[in-house]
Symmetry: C2
Subunit: 209 residues, 2 copies
Amino acid sequence: MRATEQAEPAPRRRRGRPGHDQSAILRAAVELFNRRGYDATSMGDLAKELGLTKPAIYYHVTSKEQLLGQALDDALDELTSVVTEASTERAGVTAYQRLREVVRRSVEVLVAHQQSVTLLLRVRGNSEVELAALSRRRWLDDRLAALVADAVAEGSLRDDVPPALVSRLLFGMVNSLVEWYRAEGAYDQAMVADAITTIAFDGLARHES
Amino acid sequence: MRATEQAEPAPRRRRGRPGHDQSAILRAAVELFNRRGYDATSMGDLAKELGLTKPAIYYHVTSKEQLLGQALDDALDELTSVVTEASTERAGVTAYQRLREVVRRSVEVLVAHQQSVTLLLRVRGNSEVELAALSRRRWLDDRLAALVADAVAEGSLRDDVPPALVSRLLFGMVNSLVEWYRAEGAYDQAMVADAITTIAFDGLARHES
């Protein structure tokens, strides 16, 4: 990299970079898929939304399904990373602590990747790409249910609700964020994470009576 | 009604009734809208799904949007009835009791009207019909937030999470049902209702420490 380039303002330098247009196309595509539905959105609609020609878009992406796959992988990679770490036993860290942590970090992922997670949560399995995403979602659900079961087994969580059902409802509450959370709204990410962990765990934690 | 008709077996009598085909068309339409997306579903797709001609469908319904409106009204009428009753003050019944009741009865509505509620929860506001449904949903959300605020004010619920946020998360957990609940699955409706009220209210109820 030349010294003169380093001195240039970042926004201007970025504009011509390979990859920049592709990520802008992906962002616009995901937003459009969520707004209109994936099946109802054509590459022509996407071109129009971006003020580009169809050939200009096809220069960067091969198909609408490629965009869908990239968006779903984006969401799934983040969630998989969070769940994998929470599922890994560590000395001195209880399953209960790891479950609280995965709830908090899931909120962070949902807020940071709201559009791609929204798309992921609406996938019905209508294509190979969607079926692959559903399979990865099931893996996440299974790991989370196992973590809840571990927390029950260690005596941290109440044992009168089936762990798989607890997991469904707990992450149902977390996932509901994508439907109503607005970054510019009344609640910041930390407040939402606190509210969910408070509501969920004061309910789930065993209270001595 | 003639006495001879009364003696006929019910399923056979029903078949020719006006209204029967219309409700079968509505059911199939809602299921198809949820599976493929509303915008991506044509009246031709619906005809094919039902093994009917398009004119046969148009004999019963005027448009795809009419079917959407009917399905959304179906879900909204049920939820409005439940929320209206829960919002009505009654002697000797606390806001806390009415809130627990509205959670339980919402679970019943979601299970009984799962397809139309699923459709309702995915509405984005892309037409007059959808905007009207969103407006009715907002009314429900406002009533529920007010009920949570009443329960906080009477001292039954914790006051360290904003009532509107509690309401979002509580009904986010309830609404998540439509994504995974299967009547033939491991959990019956009563078990799910118990799990939600247990998780939510043991968290929300003020614990003396």
